[in-house]
């Protein structure tokens, strides 16, 4: 579903992502972990078509993000780490706008908006301007907007930040359900317990370079993901 081949991204002279390659198949939940500033968000933004990149290629369902970004964006949903939405719109108008962008027919959007807004307990607030939402409510709205076009690939940057425990649980359940239906999920997180319990595969990135990737069993082993992460990152530092 998502194939990253030798991705390199520079900010001026600084190399933010260095020759990174990953492959995520349909039905997989893939965690992307690393220190702050390791290059997670940059990689994720390149995959979502938000940032251009200098080297390598990214394919979504076989389509190149560089060559045909619009077709790629139709297949994916992106949730940023900080939900800066349109404060001047109401929640329902915002969802309507997103549905229009994905050209979701009237009947389907109606059903999905009601379904997901109720699941995340923001249905009653959809008539309010987003400017009056709390951080958590904005995050929930961003999640709902990402789900309404039933994407094949969801790319998320720290999706659990700001969500209350019940909504975080709901999101995890939905993530699994979507993957069972054939979608794929690629997300960054600092909450290693969640990654360990939820994900099929994991990749660890440090200073823009992929240190290790594989199934959760391979990476976490018997010691757990936290120890594996610390050993891997510290090991890379000492090497």
């Amino acid at each position: 579903m998502l194939k990253i081949q030798h991705l390199s991204k520079y900010y001026g002279l600084k190399k933010a992502v260095d020759d990174l390659s990953l492959e995520i198949n349909a039905g997989e939940i893939y965690a992307f972990i690393g220190h702050n500033g390791a290059g997670k968000t940059t990689t994720i933004k390149c995959c979502a078509g938000i940032l251009d990149f200098e080297g390598g290629e990214i394919f979504i369902d076989g389509i190149s993000v560089k060559q045909d970004p619009l077709s790629c964006k139709k297949l994916i949903a992106y949730i940023p780490d900080n939900p800066d939405l349109y404060n001047f719109m109401t929640g329902s108008k915002y969802l309507d706008f997103i549905a229009d962008a994905f050209q979701i027919p009237t009947s389907e959007r109606q059903e999905r908006i009601v379904k997901y807004a109720k699941i995340f307990s923001i249905f009653d607030n959809l008539g309010q301007p987003i400017g009056e939402y709390s951080h958590g409510m904005k995050q929930k709205l961003a999640v709902v907007s990402a789900l309404i076009h039933e994407p094949k690939l969801i790319i998320m940057d720290e999706p659990f930040v700001g969500l209350d425990p019940s909504s975080a649980h709901t999101l995890k359940v939905i993530m699994r359900e979507l993957c069972d239906k054939g979608s794929a999920i690629f997300f960054s997180t600092h909450v290693l317990e969640v990654a360990e319990k939820l994900c099929d595969k994991v990749a660890i990135i440090k200073e823009g370079k992929l240190i290790v990737s594989g199934t959760m069993e391979e990476i976490a082993g018997n010691e757990g993901l936290e120890n594996a992460f610390l050993e891997t990152v510290e090991g890379a530092k000492n090497a």
């Binding site: 078509g49 619009l70 001047f88 229009d100 962008a101 009237t106 009653d124």
Partner: protein
Amino acid sequence: MLKTLIKKEFLGFFGRMFASRRSKKNSKGSIVLFIILFLYLFIVLGVSFGTLCYTVLQALIENGNLWFYGAFTAVLASMFALLGSVFTSMTQLYDAKDNDLLLSLPIPPSYILLARMIPLGVFNVIYASLVLLPAIIVYATVMGLSYALLLQIVILLLVSVITLAISCLIGRLLAGLLAKVKRKTLITTIFSIVFLVAYMLLMFNINAVLDSILNNVISLTAVFEKYLPTLYWTGLGFGGNGIWFLVTFVLNAVISVGIFFIISKTYIKTINGSKGTAKKKYKNQIQKAKSPFVSLLYKEWKRFSGSATYFMNCAIGVFMVIIAAVVMLINTENIKTVFKESEILSSIMPVVFLGCLLFLLSTVCVSACSVSLEGKALWILKSLPIKAYDVLLAKITLHLLVSAPVSVVVYALLGIVYSFDFLSVLFGCILIVAFVFVMGSFGLKRNLKNPDLEWTNETQPVKQSINVLICMLLGAVFSTVFMTGGIFLSLIIPPYVAIILFALLFTLFAILYNRWFKKHGAQKLMDL
């Protein structure tokens, strides 16, 4: 700490205005351009206020009521400063995005308030200087140099301070009122329009008002002494009366400090009170599917109509077009008489009217800050499967929809009432649309090249943007070129042919801009 806060406010302002997007450093070109534009505005407005002041001073010397000169110029300067700062103060003080952050730090709220007020105060000094500096120069030229000059400069500062205090107080009252109502934008817009219409009516009738005041200045003296003594004392102080100057000084200082004290005591309460109204439960409504372009246009419209700052600052020209049209329709016979004085004047009437209309339209700059206003939510447009060109086209279309239909109707109506020939009306309307498209495109291109996506309140990309200023001035240049070129050509060829030539020229510009947006603009947006 206060010094650091003030520095932050000024750095934010000048950084925003002059910073180059690539280097993030102040661009020398932008600074030079800003100074030139600022001096141009200062000279143009200064000369008009200076002429007005000279007329008033001459009349007052004749009837021996010199005190009125200081009072009159102080009131005029206060009104000018108040018009420029009243809405800025509300957004600057109460709607800043970093209010929560600053209030969470161990800084007294009065410091935050003062740091935000000082840049406003600097702007007030500039606004007041536009009126009072020419007034002081005129006074010194006519009456000769004396120590009164020093008092007059202090009065200029006093006017700036008291106006700042009043605008902050009005801003405080508005913020408190708007926190309790649902349709904030509508109420702010109505308030702004009433304010603007009152100001424009006064300006349109300034000669009649002045004549009436100057003829009744003796009876007005008694009224001022009894009911508005502060203005009377200011007038005496302006003329060099040291005792009354001192009284004015103390009074202004006490009032300003008192207002600042009241605002600072209720600052936190006002900020917290401005965050939301009573929540209403959402009822499911049918969401009809629209095309992505229509949805983008709707989004632009919601942003435009949902922000009084954006609406009032960038579409003021449309209101001026309507007001001008009403004035021209009311005074049809008088205007016709003036133009019928000679055959040449009569023939160039369509060109003159069109030139004036284009001049007013040059103050519409909806697209010039539309990219900046995306702010940190720009990721939404970049992550959605929509063409970047459609995003840009939606922004220009909004600019077009806000200004073109009203102007076309106004010009067509004036054409009928003033009996223009059909071709002048037809091609005049085409020229209006092409002009508006070019202005919208120019503003958008400027904003794409120099966006401010890190603003903390909306006034920064809207009111403190060099893009907006340049856009307005280029529009003024374009309309002046049309007016002079059109009049000159109308002496050689029929006026409608002159209008056709300019319509073709602007249509060509519009096509070229459209090509640039398709080829380069879309990519520029994605690269932001």
